[in-house]
């Protein structure tokens, strides 16, 4: 019983189009939920990274001139971890419990960790979907970039070695 409806469009065609649109919406919804899941994965990884940084800076073996900065950077990492954890929980995720202890880090290891943090956020920013997370992770990354400068100077290295600062791929993500 197909006949013209309203503007001359065939009813069968309309039904087909409606089905196609619904199908498309399902594909989109599924893509969207996949992207949201990816955001949650990045949040979980970010929390773990920040917890590792907080512990490393809090227990670091650093020369006296760097001690105050090290405590400050431990606090920054805890702030990042707390805010990231809240974002993660709002999205139904749970963070991995932080390690209670780890090896005492010396300044070169702290520098490497900061490079990994910048590298992690740089990678995440290319893939995140939620624009609030983009702003949040980008401003955490810029915080880490400033800490990189402090550590490079403390180690007698060039503080601005790259016009494009993309850090270093975190060891745990290298196979990803």
């Amino acid at each position: 019983m197909s006949g013209p409806v309203g503007d001359g469009t065939d009813r069968r065609e309309l039904l087909g189009a409606a089905a196609a649109a619904v199908g498309g919406a399902l594909v989109t919804a599924s893509g969207a939920s996949g992207a949201a899941r990816r955001d949650v994965e990045f949040l979980r990884e970010a929390v773990a990274l920040e917890q590792r940084l907080a512990l490393a800076f809090a227990t670091a073996a650093v020369p006296r001139p760097l001690a105050a900065q090290s405590r400050l950077f431990a606090r920054h990492a805890r702030e990042h971890a707390a805010t990231l954890t809240a974002s993660l929980r709002r999205r139904g995720g749970n963070p991995t419990p932080p390690a209670a202890r780890g090896p005492r880090a010396f300044p070169p290891a702290l520098l490497r960790l900061e490079e990994e943090a910048v590298g992690f956020y740089h990678r995440a920013l290319g893939e995140l979907r939620d624009t609030r997370l983009i702003l949040f992770m980008a401003s955490a990354m810029t915080g880490h970039a400033q800490q990189l400068v402090v550590l490079r100077q403390a180690l007698g290295r060039e503080p601005l070695p790259h016009a494009f600062e993309s850090g270093r791929t975190p060891a745990a993500l290298q196979l990803g």
Binding site: A21, G24, T28, P159, A163
Partner: protein
């Protein structure tokens, strides 16, 4: 069909056909749920940060004559990096089919800059400008429709945050005082 266009007619819906297209139309998104890409708008956003790069180069040039020693060396290093950022942005904007903005004339910049008389003036101006640049890049990062543009913007804003740390330190302040660096005044 633009996302900003009025409601499509049934005939247009039919013409689009295909499940993905139908879904995208209903939600205003691509198949992965991301906003539809808009190269023209993205080129406009990149032009905003490119204009900031041109301004920074002019500002360091204007302030450079008051800088000596390490501060001068730092300014030269920063200018070289701002030039690299500008060149990269020009290439990206062209790749998007846009037309990159060029720098203003030196006189035009001079009229908009504060009066600089000392090294301290020049460094304060540099710090304030670097803050604005960080903020502009963070906004662009959030707003670009094509996620493939974000790694370039992220690598530049990280570098700009480093510039901010170093000029802030030259102003006698802590270089990395905040956990989250948003470019807002403290």
């Amino acid at each position: 069909m633009s996302l900003r266009s009025p409601q499509p007619t049934r005939r247009e819906l039919l013409a689009l056909g295909g499940a993905a297209a139908g879904g995208a139309l209903l939600t205003g998104c691509g198949a992965d749920g991301a906003p539809k890409r808009d190269p023209k708008r993205d080129a406009g956003l990149l032009n905003v940060v490119l204009a900031y790069e041109h301004t920074a180069i002019a500002a360091y040039r204007a302030g450079g004559r008051f800088l000596t020693g390490g501060a001068r060396g730092l300014a030269d290093r920063i200018v070289a990096q701002e030039r690299a950022h500008a060149s990269a942005l020009v290439r990206t904007i062209r790749g998007l089919g846009g037309r990159p903005v060029g720098p203003l004339l030196a006189d035009e910049y001079a009229r908009s800059f504060p009066r600089l008389r000392t090294q301290a003036d020049a460094l304060r101006f540099a710090r304030d400008l670097e803050r604005r640049i960080v903020r502009a890049y963070l906004e662009a990062l959030q707003q670009v429709s094509d996620p493939r543009l974000r790694p370039q913007l992220a690598a530049i804003v990280a570098c700009e945050a480093e510039h901010l740390a170093l000029v802030t330190e030259r102003n006698g302040e802590a270089p990395a005082p905040d956990a989250f660096v948003t470019g807002k005044e403290r």
